[in-house]
């Protein structure tokens, strides 16, 4: 789960990392009040779960409460990169001497945590990594041994002497967040040295492992603060993985790999998928029915493709679920069904006997994708 900046900073402060004074605002008026409280000037920062805010107009310095209100209203009205915006963070302006970059991230390849630091902070960190990788210091941290003193010396050694002690303190606390809060990413861009010598986290990107939220209840509670498409919300509540896309063939499959492969094969058949929907393993009849309802609630869908390869999932239950859904709702688009694997023959027989006018049986994945693509094109 990706936290908003202000939530990440709450975590930072709870672990003793200094951040600027900030106030969350949900209206222009609140942003103006916050700016007044911070001394009449502030920085207004859009709160979204994606990066690239600085370049995209999502971080704006303002010199009056009125300007703060204006910018906050614009961000709340226009959203950011097609994401809805429900809040902004209004922060005090600090006298910055220098900007750095630091992060710890789970390194999938190495199976440990990678710590990074560079004295060249700012927005083009990825470009720096590509053009002058030697400018970024890196250490691999064994999860069982934790961050050692020599790691800290290595990373902070790239900073000017006056920043090292403060930065070392931040590093130790970031590493603590990795283990105590099950974070898979903590990134500070920029970490700044102030004119008075303090080292402060001006930004916070924190990602927490979804599989560990059961032991991070206060972070789990933040889940409700993120906007979500109503159809996606309904899918999530029933345990389905659903992502809306912009095509017109509705897709239901089991297993992320097979569903991704189905999107690809539909594209090769000349159509575009309307969504990604993974019913997961062991799908019941009821789950199938809900999936179909979710897909059919999208008006862009002109045809549906159900592609199931049963392992744990039983195809007879899938067939029953499709029929149950069609008894509950009025489907006005064709539904192509391909069943293979556990109890596939039984599933196909159930659909055959029902002889529902909307159901189109297909025997292979390729054939199913072609039929669904053709039907969607014919209806468009």
């Amino acid at each position: 789960m990706d936290l908003y900046e202000h939530q990440g900073k709450d975590v930072f402060r709870a672990h003793g990392i200094a951040t600027p004074r900030g106030i969350v605002a949900t209206t222009g008026e609140e942003a103006a009040d916050a700016t007044r409280e911070l001394g009449g000037r502030s920085v207004v920062k859009v709160q979204v779960q994606i990066g690239g805010r600085g370049k995209g107009g999502g971080v704006v310095l303002v010199d009056s409460p009125e300007r703060a209100a204006e910018e906050a209203e614009r961000m709340l009205r226009d959203g950011f990169k097609d994401m809805p915006v429900t809040r902004v963070l209004v922060e005090e302006l600090l006298p910055i001497a220098q900007e750095y970059y630091t992060s710890f991230v789970l390194d999938r390849s190495a199976g440990d945590y990678l710590g990074m630091m560079t004295a060249e902070g700012g927005m083009d960190i990825e470009e720096l990594a590509a053009t002058r990788p030697e400018a970024i210091r890196r250490v691999h941290v064994d999860p069982m041994l934790g961050l050692r003193t020599y790691h800290v010396r290595e990373l902070t050694g790239t900073l000017p002497p006056e920043a090292r002690e403060g930065a070392a303190d931040v590093l130790r606390k970031l590493a603590e967040i990795l283990t105590d809060r099950d974070a898979t990413l903590v990134e500070v861009n920029p970490l700044v040295l102030l004119e008075d010598g303090r080292v402060v986290a001006l930004d916070a990107k924190v990602t927490v492992d979804d599989n560990a939220l059961w032991r991070q209840p206060d972070i789990d509670e933040l889940r409700s603060s993120f906007p979500i498409d109503p159809v996606e919300a309904r899918a999530k509540a029933t345990g389905l993985q659903y992502v809306k896309l912009d095509g017109d063939v509705g897709i239901i499959g089991n297993g992320a790999g097979l569903v991704m492969s189905t999107l690809d094969v539909v594209a090769q058949a000349g159509a575009k998928a309307a969504n990604f929907l993974d019913v997961g393993g062991g799908a019941s009849a009821d789950l199938m029915a809900t999936s179909l309802e979710v897909i059919l609630s999208d008006p862009a869908v002109k045809a549906v493709l159900i592609n199931i390869f049963g392992g744990i999932t039983r195809c007879d239950l899938v067939a029953q679920g499709v029929l149950e859904a069609l008894a509950r709702i009025d489907a006005n688009v064709p539904i192509v069904v391909r069943l293979d694997g556990t109890n596939a023959r039984l599933g196909r027989e159930i659909l055959n006997e029902a002889a529902h006018p909307r159901i189109v049986a297909a025997t292979t994945m390729l054939e199913a994708a072609q039929r669904a693509a053709d039907l969607a094109k014919a209806a468009a």
Binding site: S103, A212, F309, G311
Partner: protein, 289 residues
């Protein structure tokens, strides 16, 4: 011949008394796997359809000579179960459990560096050597005995591609479902090395998907070390680009993790990449002649 599991496999199932654990244990036994023991703390002295249940893996090994473990323990306790098996001296651990916190797996990964245990998974469908042994949840009836090795990150794509191979009359030596978790046991490289060394394997199919850089690193390994033909498949050309928070992930891998970049890396290493599961089977057939 096969890799990882075969006629010599003596299986202990950790979490044997759970619903899924019991169901798949019995399916594996019906397939012909020697299932010699189960472990569920506090349920020793019980048995599951004639399979003795022990309190600890150490007891199971002492009493039955188990050398391979399959784990169906719930996610909160699964990392502990892997450590227990490794510590007891189990040579191969296959962890089916989905949803283990990644920090727990990072600790396991660190521990396993110092011991000779091989881990497959977690969050994987397991391993099958058709005709010899099945450890996991891959449906045995879609496989056929033969000389194609297969390794995949995705579970259901193992099924789809094995099915396509079998339909074309192309049997398999071993199919490895390595699982898709960020920190996991053996990957493409270890599997490719095992298949390269296996007399019973003539060709390897590797099935990847978007995200991470496992496929890119496998491509580099193939160029250096694999002389047997490799056919690839990558899922996710049409998948929506995942939203990304920070920069750190991209700096680590230096890769965008896209399907196109992965396919390109594999092709540059001499791997023929099929664009559909059906095409993968056709390429295998054409390559083997």
């Amino acid at each position: 011949m096969s890799v990882l599991i075969g006629a010599g496999t003596r299986l202990v199932v950790q979490g044997i008394t759970g619903r899924e654990g019991t169901f798949h244990t019995l399916r594996n036994r019906d397939y012909g796997t020697q299932v010699v023991a189960g472990v569920t703390p506090g349920k020793a002295a019980a048995d599951v359809e004639g399979i003795p249940v022990f309190d600890t893996v150490v007891d199971a090994i002492r009493e039955t000579g188990a050398n391979t473990s399959m784990i169906f323990v719930p996610p909160r306790f699964a990392a502990e179960a892997i450590l227990e098996a490794a510590d007891a001296g189990i040579a191969l651990v296959v962890c089916i459990t989905e949803g283990i916190p990644v920090r727990d797996m990072a600790n396991v990964h660190s521990y396993l560096k110092g011991v000779p245990t091989t881990l497959v998974g977690p969050n994987c469908p397991g391993v099958i050597s058709p005709g010899a042994a099945n450890v996991g949840i891959i449906p045995g009836e879609i496989c056929a005995q033969g000389r194609v090795g297969l390794v995949s990150r995705s579970g259901t794509l193992v099924y789809q591609i094995v099915h396509e191979l079998t339909q074309e009359g192309l049997g398999q030596s071993t199919c490895v479902g390595m699982g898709g978790d960020p920190v996991h046991g053996i990957g493409f490289i270890e599997s490719l090395a095992a298949f390269q060394a296996d007399d019973g394997t003539d060709l390897v199919v590797m099935v990847g998907e978007i995200g991470g850089d496992d496929e890119e690193r496998a491509a580099a390994f193939i160029a250096e070390h694999v002389t047997k033909p490799v056919v690839g498949y990558i899922a996710g050309f049409e998948a929506p680009p995942g939203k990304r928070m920070g920069h750190a992930g991209a700096i680590v891998t230096g890769s965008k993790g896209t399907a196109a970049a992965k396919a390109e890396a594999l092709e540059a290493a001499g791997v023929r990449v099929g664009r559909t599961p059906t095409q993968v089977a056709e390429l295998v057939k054409a390559t083997l002649g």
